[in-house]
Symmetry: none
Subunit: 142 residues, 2 copies
DNA sequence: CTTCTTGCAAATAATTTGCACTCCA
DNA sequence: TGGAGTGCAAATTATTTGCAAGAAG
């Protein structure tokens, strides 16, 4: 695969990725950079993001709104327990999938490369709040 | 929310969803039905799928190829082993997460509601194809 | 200099929407 | 009958691609 040359656009895109905690879309990157690089092309961003993700430097994810967002690969490890109300997240360290994966590999002939796992629930705070809201006379929207 | 009237298109779409083990896209449903209903419109399918999913009858998922696929909500518990090359899917029946979830519930105070799990890898066919394509002068470093 | 990159414009692909007509309840 | 549902065509949105000009090594 071709060598990645070092251009200022490329650097700028990488910097945005590095500086943002959450995954960002091509368009968001474009907006962030259009002042500094007035004739930066959106296609340049798409092409770079694609290249980054091929190289494993960046993780590509399709969100439920159908938009693809990217984030630095480092940040993207582990599994989470996320609250369906407030989106509060707890990292899950125990991952019981190795065993399962070994079995699958044997049974299906697949070469397992990885997995995604997210568990959803309500966090204690939201549960409490819900209890409170359940009082006979107190009905409140959220 | 408006009452869902009973039309043959609507029934046919539902039937497809019910009869398919894996999630299906609007286009796939369209293809399956275009013989039986020559002037069925794709937009009708999109609109119905959207309505189904609003009503909770059907689950909507955006896949990595950016295409939205739908499946009957019942089937909801089921995890997949998907090939990173050809997207071939195998359903995983064993789900080792109950135990983990019980532990988490105790440890974190979350009330667990569900989870998503997908395992990625290369299917036997793609592995074979890859072997074949591997050129004589192989590169060592990885 | 030669390959990798970029910008621009045009092309796709999936999905959505406006509108007039049709059909179920 | 009246509103829900449909087909069709045109509109949107995110992303991709071809190509000539420009920069990096």
């Amino acid at each position: 695969m071709a060598v990645l040359k070092n251009t200022k656009q490329r650097g700028a895109i990488m910097e945005i990725l590095r500086n943002s905690a959450d995954p960002v879309s091509a368009e968001e990157i474009f907006d962030s950079l259009k002042n500094e690089y007035p004739n930066l092309a959106l296609s340049t961003i798409y092409r770079n993001l694609e290249r980054f993700s091929e190289n494993g430097m960046v993780t590509r994810d399709v969100f439920n709104d159908g938009v693809v967002r990217y984030s630095i690969a480092e940040e993207h490890h582990g599994h989470y327990l996320v609250c369906t109300q407030c989106s509060n997240k707890i990292k899950i360290d125990d991952c019981p999938l190795m065993r399962l994966e070994q079995g699958l590999q044997r049974d299906t002939g697949y070469e397992i490369e990885g997995h995604t796992l997210t568990i959803y629930g309500k966090c204690p705070d939201c549960l409490r709040r819900e209890q409170g809201a359940r009082e006979p006379h107190e009905k409140q929207g959220e």
